[in-house]
C-alpha cells in the first residue's frame, strides 16, 4: 500500500516559507504530479516526502506509517533526480544494486533483481558500463532501474526529464507511463512543465508560492480551474484574460460586453471580476467552427497569424485603433484564437477586421481580488438543453483532447 498523506506540511527557511500548509492525499498506485513555476515549493514538498528535508510543521505518512522523523533510507521510497545522480565511480550493475547491497540481500537475489530491473529499463547487456560511457537517455534509464530494483512503496521523481533533449523527453515520457502501468506503484512526479504534467498524471497538484492551488485530475484542472493562477498556468497557449466589471445585465470589459443575467449566478452589479476564455473557445463568426453557446459577434483586428499545422493561432487586437497608433508595449488588448487550419486564413494579411464569438459554455470568471473561480459556464440553461444533454457539457472533454494533442505536436 503505497499511499502518501501529507498533513499540513509547512517548511520555512528563516523568513522564507517554501511550503505553506500543504495537505495532499495520494492513493496507492496513483501517478500524481506536483507542478508549478520554479520556486513554487514543489521540489521541497517532494524532498519532504523523501525525507531529505524535515518539515517545519506537519506530518508525512507513507503506507499508513508516520515517517516524519524517519531518515530517507527507512521510508520505503526511491527517487530519481533531475541531474540523474548515478554514482560515477560505479558501473551500471553496482549503481542499480547499490541499495540492495546496502540492505545485505543474498547475492543471487541481487543478481536476479538487477537483471529484472535492467530488462524493464532495457539496459540488459550494459551492466558493466560506467556511467560516463552511457548516453543521456541510458543514464536516465539506469537511474530509473536503480529506483525500481528495490521495489519501494513510492517512487519520487524530481524533474527526471528536465536534462534530456526534447525528442528524448517525449520518448521517456511514454516510457515512464508504460513503467507506471507495469509496476502499478505510486509515483509522485515533480515538473515545471504543465504539458508533461497533463499528459502523464492521474492527478495534478498545481502549486504556487508554496501552496497547492488545485489538486484534481488533469481535465478538471483544465476545464474547471480553481483560480486565476491555475487557469493561466494550465493550457498552452494560455487562457485569454481581461479585467471585467459586472453590470446589471451582464459584464463589460474595456473592449466588449457580454449580456447575461448576473443574478442567476448570484453576482451583484459592480463586482470586479477577471474574464477568461481559452483560445479554442473563441471562433471567427464566419467560420464553421461550432460553439456550444456563442455570444454576439465582437469586432477585432488581426495582428499575427501563426499556422501550426493542425491548428492556426490568430492573434487579435481588441482595442479600436485610433488611426493605427498602437504601441507595442500594451498587450492587454490582445486575444488569441485557435482554430482548425484553413488555407484562406493563412493567406490573411495583418490588420484585417474580423468578427469573433466566444463560447459562453466555456467562459471562466474569477474574482478580481482573490483570483478564486466564480464560474466556468455562462451558458443559458434552456439553450444548453437544446445543444447538449446535461448541465455539465460533455463536449468540453472533446475540446480538451484536441487542445492537448495540439500542444504535444507543437513542441
Amino acid at each position: 500500500m503505497g499511499d502518501v498523506n501529507l498533513e499540513h506540511i509547512t517548511k520555512r527557511y528563516g523568513d522564507v516559507t517554501a511550503v505553506d500548509d500543504v495537505s495532499i492525499d495520494i492513493e496507492d498506485g496513483e501517478f500524481v504530479t506536483l507542478v508549478g513555476p520554479s520556486g513554487c515549493g514543489k521540489s521541497t514538498t517532494l524532498e519532504t516526502i523523501a525525507g531529505l528535508t524535515t518539515p517545519t510543521e506537519g506530518e508525512v505518512h507513507i503506507a499508513g506509517r508516520d515517517v516524519t522523523d524517519l531518515p530517507p533510507k527507512d521510508r520505503q521510497i526511491s527517487m530519481v533526480f533531475q541531474n540523474i545522480a548515478l554514482f560515477p565511480h560505479m558501473d551500471v550493475y553496482d549503481n542499480i544494486s547499490y541499495g540492495l547491497r546496502l540492505r545485505d540481500f543474498e547475492e543471487d537475489e541481487v543478481d536476479r533483481r538487477v537483471d529484472d530491473a535492467a530488462e524493464i529499463v532495457q539496459m540488459e547487456g550494459m551492466l558493466d558500463r560506467m556511467p560516463d560511457e552511457l548516453s543521456g537517455g541510458q543514464r536516465q534509464r539506469v537511474a530509473i532501474g536503480r529506483a525500481i530494483v528495490r521495489e519501494p512503496e513510492v517512487f519520487l521523481m524530481d524533474e527526471p526529464l528536465a536534462n534530456l533533449d526534447a525528442a528524448l523527453r517525449v520518448h521517456m515520457r511514454t516510457e515512464l507511463q508504460r513503467l507506471h502501468r507495469e509496476l502499478d506503484t505510486t509515483i509522485v512526479y515533480v515538473t515545471h512543465d504543465q504539458e508533461e504534467a497533463m499528459t502523464m498524471s492521474n492527478r495534478l497538484a498545481i502549486m504556487n508560492e508554496g501552496r497547492v492551488q488545485q489538486f484534481a485530475e488533469p481535465l478538471e484542472c483544465y476545464g474547471q480551474p480553481a483560480n486565476e493562477f491555475v487557469a493561466g498556468f494550465i493550457g498552452s497557449p494560455s487562457m485569454n484574460m481581461y479585467d471585467a466589471t459586472i453590470t446589471g445585465d451582464g459584464l463589460e470589459t474595456s473592449f466588449f460586453e457580454i449580456p447575461f443575467d448576473p443574478e442567476r449566478f448570484g453576482l451583484s452589479a459592480g463586482r470586479e471580476v477577471t474574464f477568461g476564455i481559452r483560445p479554442e473557445d473563441v471562433a471567427l463568426s464566419d467560420s464553421n467552427q461550432e460553439l456550444g453557446d456563442p455570444t454576439e459577434p465582437i469586432v477585432a483586428e488581426t495582428d499575427v497569424v501563426e499556422p501550426i499545422g493542425d491548428e492556426v493561432f490568430v492573434y487579435l487586437l481588441l482595442a479600436e485603433r485610433s488611426d493605427h497608433g498602437r504601441t507595442l508595449s500594451e498587450g492587454d488588448d490582445e486575444l488569441l484564437l485557435s482554430t482548425p487550419p484553413d488555407r484562406a486564413l493563412t493567406e490573411w494579411e495583418e490588420e484585417r477586421s474580423v468578427r469573433i464569438r466566444f463560447d459562453r459554455r466555456n467562459v471562466h470568471l474569477f474574482d478580481a481580488e482573490s483570483g478564486e473561480s466564480i464560474l466556468h459556464d455562462l451558458g443559458e440553461p434552456e439553450q444548453a438543453e437544446a445543444d447538449d444533454p446535461g448541465p455539465e457539457p460533455e463536449p468540453r472533454d472533446g475540446a480538451v483532447g484536441r487542445e492537448r494533442d495540439a500542444t504535444t505536436e507543437q513542441r
Binding site: 533510507k73 527517487m79 560515477p88 565511480h89 547499490y98 536503480r146
Partner: protein, 334 residues
C-alpha cells in the same frame, strides 16, 4: 628607423656581413652585435624572453634545492679521516658508510618509528578532517566561515607556543583535583610514547587537511549524496561510500602532505622523547646519535640524512601525479 646601438663585439663588424643578413627579418640592424640582435628579436617575439627567464629561474631553483643533496652525498662518501678541505668532489670513495650507519646505531629503528608515527598521524588526520571537511564543505550552518577561519588560524600558530604546556601535560605534571575530595586526576605520562608525538602532530596538521578536504567535498554534487541517502545510507554512509571515493585525489593530497610534514617535523620529535629508539624517537634522534662527545661523525650524519630522505622521495614520486592534480583540482573547479 634602424638604431645605431652597437655594443662592443658587434661594433667591429665589417660590411661583409651585409650579404648574410639580407635574408634576415625586417627591422634588424645588420650592423648590430649578437646581444643587440637578441634584444631586437625579443622585442618582436616576447615569448623568447619568457623562455629565457624560465630557464634561468629553473636553474636557480634546481641549484638551490639539489646542491645541498649533492653536498650531503659528497660528505657521506668522504672518509672520516679526510674530512678537512672537502671540495666539490669527495675526498675518496667510501660507500660502505651507508651500511655502517645501520651498524653503529639502530638507524632502521628510528626510521621505523618515524614512518609509524607518520602513518598513524595521517590516518587520524584523514578520519577527523574528513568529518570536518564534510561539515564545512556540505552543510550550511551559522558561523561556518568564522569557524573555518579559527581552524585555519590554529595552523599558523608557532608550535613552540604549545610546547611548554604540552610538555608539562605529557610528563604527568598537570593534576586536576576535584574540589572537596581527595580525588585527583594526573595527566597521563605520554613522554617517550608515540602519543606524545601523534597527538600534537594530529592537531597541528589537521587544519590544512580540513581545508583541502573541504574544497574537495564541497564539489561533489548534492544529488549523489541524496541518491545515496535515499538508497539506504546515512549521511556518514554517503560520505564513506560516495563522497570519499570520488574525492580520492584530495584525500591522497591531504594524506601525503600530512605524512611528509610529520616525517620532516623536528621540534616535537626532538623534545618529546629522550632519544632512545625504543622510546619512539624519530629519525632526527637517529642522526644526532652520530654527534658524540668527542667527535662528530659528519659522514655518518650525511649518509643517514640521505637515507632518511628516501621514503619521502619514493612517496612523492609515486604520488606526484595525484598530488599535483589534487592541489590544482580545487583551484580549477569552483
Amino acid at each position: 628607423m634602424a638604431t645605431d646601438t652597437h655594443d662592443a663585439p658587434g661594433g667591429a663588424r665589417a660590411e661583409t656581413t651585409t650579404e648574410t643578413t639580407t635574408d634576415q627579418r625586417d627591422g634588424e640592424d645588420e650592423d648590430a652585435g649578437p646581444y643587440t640582435r637578441w634584444v631586437q628579436r625579443s622585442i618582436r617575439e616576447p615569448g623568447r624572453v619568457y623562455r629565457a627567464m624560465f630557464v634561468v629561474v629553473t636553474i636557480f631553483f634546481l641549484v638551490t634545492t639539489l646542491f645541498p643533496l649533492y653536498w650531503l652525498g659528497v660528505l657521506a662518501l668522504t672518509e672520516q679521516g679526510k674530512m678537512t678541505d672537502v671540495g666539490l668532489v669527495p675526498n675518496g670513495f667510501n660507500p660502505a658508510v651507508f651500511v655502517e650507519v645501520f651498524e653503529t646505531v639502530p638507524f632502521h629503528w628510528y626510521m621505523f618509528n618515524s614512518i609509524v608515527i607518520g602513518l598513524v598521524t595521517t590516518a587520524i588526520v584523514l578520519v577527523f578532517a574528513s568529518l570536518a571537511g564534510y561539515v564545512f564543505g556540505r552543510m550550511e550552518f551559522p558561523g561556518r566561515t568564522p569557524l573555518m577561519l579559527v581552524v585555519l588560524a590554529i595552523s599558523y600558530f608557532p608550535p613552540v607556543a604549545f610546547l611548554l604546556p604540552l610538555f608539562r601535560l605529557f610528563t604527568g605534571n598537570v593534576a586536576l583535583t576535584f574540589p572537596g575530595t581527595d580525588v585527583a586526576i594526573t595527566s597521563p605520562m605520554l613522554f617517550n610514547t608515540p602519543g606524545a608525538l601523534v597527538l600534537p602532530y594530529s592537531a597541528l596538521f589537521m587544519p590544512l587537511s580540513i581545508f583541502i578536504l573541504t574544497t574537495f567535498y564541497a564539489q561533489i554534487p548534492d544529488g549523489l549524496e541524496r541518491a545515496s541517502r535515499v538508497e539506504g545510507t546515512t549521511r556518514l554512509g554517503a560520505l564513506y561510500r560516495v563522497i570519499v571515493p570520488l574525492s580520492a585525489p584530495g584525500l591522497a593530497t591531504a594524506g601525503v602532505l600530512t605524512f611528509i610534514s610529520v616525517y620532516n617535523e623536528f621540534f616535537f620529535g626532538f623534545l618529546m622523547t629522550d632519544g632512545q629508539p625504543d622510546h619512539w624517537a624519530p629519525i632526527v634522534w637517529g642522526i644526532f646519535r652520530f654527534q658524540g662527545q668527542y667527535a662528530d661523525l659528519y659522514n655518518y650524519m650525511a649518509a643517514a640524512s640521505l637515507i632518511g630522505i628516501v621514503p619521502v622521495a619514493v612517496l612523492v614520486v609515486v604520488a606526484q601525479e595525484r598530488i599535483v592534480s589534487g592541489l590544482t583540482a580545487g583551484a580549477l573547479k569552483e
